[in-house]
Symmetry: C2
Subunit: 109 residues, 2 copies
DNA sequence: CATACCGGTATCCTTTGGGAAACCGCTATC
DNA sequence: GATAGCGGTTTCCCAAAGGATACCGGTATG
């Protein structure tokens, strides 16, 4: 219970988990990531990325040599430990969508 | 990704999951539950319980015959489908606490 | 030259989440 | 009669979350 709340403290809010999902397929550049995490503003993305980095879940790499200075964000090793959480959420969300589609029938409680 | 967000829509916020955890041990009366979910106010608990009930995750039972009208909240069958989610969150939170102790470096979000 | 992309930051604003405290009728207990 | 517990609701209020918009210097592209 306390541990559930600990997790929620780190991962709570509208965007943290979606961002991690967005990075779970591999490193992404800022704008790429913004497109992937549909609906997020640059301000929010920037802010959330900072917090995620502080907590060691992702890492930020700057390639200064590149022409327009590329920045990539990568899911850190510690971030990978969140996969079970994400998978559980993913599975439940999927199941829930199906559940809702079927709703409308007689529901015996 | 969309499914993760769906889950977050239903379960997001500070209290929904803690409340479900609080009910996972069996039915609880309102005040009992409030004591169990440490820190929650009656207003919040009342509001969150309504939303959880609307979404079919818990059910509310009134025993009007009893002396001071007992009300009990129970995790509905559908609420039980959240156990994998809760367990994942619980495990991660526990692990994270250990992780932080080990690193000797706690960073609050 | 104009436009667009990159990786953001700064400013302003609205919405919401959520806490504190008072109060409700009812009952049982001291 | 006073107090306490139950299951809440109501009101007031503040802080935080989050959205919209504009802007920055740099480069490449048409």
């Amino acid at each position: 219970m306390r541990s559930v709340r600990d997790s929620l403290d780190l991962l709570g809010g509208k965007w943290k988990l979606p961002i991690i999902v967005g990075l779970s397929g591999g490193p992404q550049r800022f704008k790429q990531l913004q497109r992937e995490v549909a609906g997020i503003t640059a301000k929010m993305l920037s802010k959330e990325l900072k917090e995620l980095e502080i907590n060691g879940l992702i890492s930020r790499h700057v390639q200064a040599d590149a022409a327009p200075v590329a920045v990539t964000y990568t899911l850190a090793a510690y971030g990978h430990t969140l996969f079970p959480v994400i998978e559980a959420l993913h599975a439940w969300g999927q199941q829930h969508r199906a559940h809702i589609m079927h709703a409308g029938e007689a529901v015996a409680a």
